[in-house]
């Protein structure tokens, strides 16, 4: 094959693929270009913006803590068990990734709402968690946990089985093996998974709207505020969107750096 043909085929492949890249760039670039620095500053000067940002950060941090504290042992347990029951649980806990957020919201209402399946046990007094700040966290945990679990399960599966066996031969119990061997070895991938989970919580919209509502000062997070502002003040909606995008970009960079480290470590092992 001639050198000219080699090059033109390579260019054709890249050119064909760049159609998608272009489509992905266009809205993001438009968002940044269309938002003037001055109007960005003015919009962020609105008092409610900081309340919304604070609520978003606090609830996403709380969700992240819940996801990591409960999700890490769950992922380790599922990674270690090969039975049909473990596989079924793994599929179920990863299901929220593929179901539409609005469906997640309905499901949460049907489970934990005032007339939900577990209302009798959870709220004997008749009140409900729905439409409270707690429900924001619940919606975020529901939709974001699978991203962490997926990353953690696959990272734990990559931990060399022989390391576990030798640890056990020294007398190390399951908790010690988990804490001192499994978690440190899986740490970069766990950080990557946590960043993806955090980003998903931060952007969560549909399930929050259905289960927690859009009450400013109580349950209105950044994405809900963008939606609300879009109806009254486009400038504020743009400013909030840029803010969300910057935080998401930072998280993506953290996740990529962490996942890059996992690759190095795996590559470095004999």
């Amino acid at each position: 094959m001639s050198r000219h043909k080699l090059r033109s085929e390579r260019l054709a492949l890249a050119g064909f693929g760049s159609v998608l890249a272009l489509f992905l760039f266009m809205p993001l670039v438009s968002l940044v270009i269309a938002t003037r620095p001055r109007s960005f500053v003015v919009a962020l000067g609105q008092p409610f913006v900081w309340g919304v940002l604070e609520l978003s950060l606090l609830t996403t941090l709380a969700s992240l803590a819940i996801v990591v504290v409960f999700g890490t042992p769950l992922a380790w347990t599922l990674a270690r068990r090969g039975g049909a029951a473990a596989r079924a649980v793994e599929t179920l806990v990863e299901l929220p990734i593929v179901i539409p957020p609005a469906v997640a919201g309905v499901a949460l209402l049907l489970a934990f709402g005032r007339r939900g399946l577990f209302a009798g046990i959870l709220y004997p007094e008749g009140s409900s968690l729905a439409f409270s700040v707690l429900s924001v966290v619940m919606a975020q945990v529901f939709v974001s946990a699978p991203f962490y679990l997926q990353a953690a399960i696959s990272a734990f599966r990559r931990v060399d089985e022989r390391l576990i066996v030798v640890s056990r031969s020294f007398g190390a119990g399951p908790l010690r093996v988990f804490r001192r061997i499994a978690v440190p070895l899986a740490a970069p991938a766990l950080v990557g998974g946590a960043a993806m989970s955090f980003a998903r919580s931060l952007g969560e919209f549909g399930a929050t709207l259905m289960f927690a509502g859009n009450l400013r000062g109580v349950t209105q997070t950044l994405p809900l505020a963008v939606y609300t502002a879009l109806e009254s003040d486009l400038g504020v909606a743009q400013a909030l969107s840029v803010l969300l995008m910057v935080v998401a970009l930072a998280l993506l960079l953290v996740a990529r750096a962490a996942l890059g480290r996992t690759g190095e470590r795996r590559g470095g092992r004999e």
């Binding site: 066996v165 030798v166 031969s169 020294f170 007398g171 119990g173 010690r176 070895l185 470095g268 092992r269």
Partner: protein, 244 residues
Amino acid sequence: MSGETLTASLTARVGPLVIDVELDTAPGTLVVVGPNGAGKTSLLSLLLGVLPVERARIAIGGTVLSDTEAGLVVPLEERRLGYVPQDYALFPHLTVHENVAFALASRRSDLAPSARDERVRGLLGELGLGERAEHRPETLSGGERQRLALARALSADPRALLLDEPLAALDVHSRDEVREFLGAYLERVALPTLVVTHDAADARRLGHRIAVLEAGRITQRGTWDEIAASPASPFVERFLAERR
């Protein structure tokens, strides 16, 4: 030489292979040799208790580790077997000192950290790793890795040692020296020891006795000289011929 003996009699199905063996380490070190796929590594996993057995009786001296007839199975964590897997399975995220300290602290949580550190330093010094204490395993030479794996296994106060191809990860140049060191050191620690290898030189230097494992069964056993005098199978003949 150790006063105690590791004895094992077991039957198990591992994939397509049925392992059915009776063996003991008396006196000292038993080397199990065999071709690839004979079940050597699986045999160690069965002794450790990480693979299921159909029938087993495993004991070290008077301590029974597994007796399926009596319904007794001691978990791996309590068997006190010093296991050195092939390629050593050192903890890559821990330093040399921490690798040994992890093992020691796993067995002896009663020891104060200062006493633990002292013991770890003693063991590392004894095995010539004192100056490498703060290094990560990946920076060690093959021989050093092997000594670290030994130090780590010994720190957890084992009743017996199980070594899987202890010299296979080494290059040809360091092999002779490390084999010599390992042979002398095993005699000094005087624990019942079972070594698995496919290498004739290792078998001759390390084993007081040799058992030949073929397709899950022991086809010949004896000292090197006894086996050399009357090889019982084509594999043993080839195996002996490998010895320079």
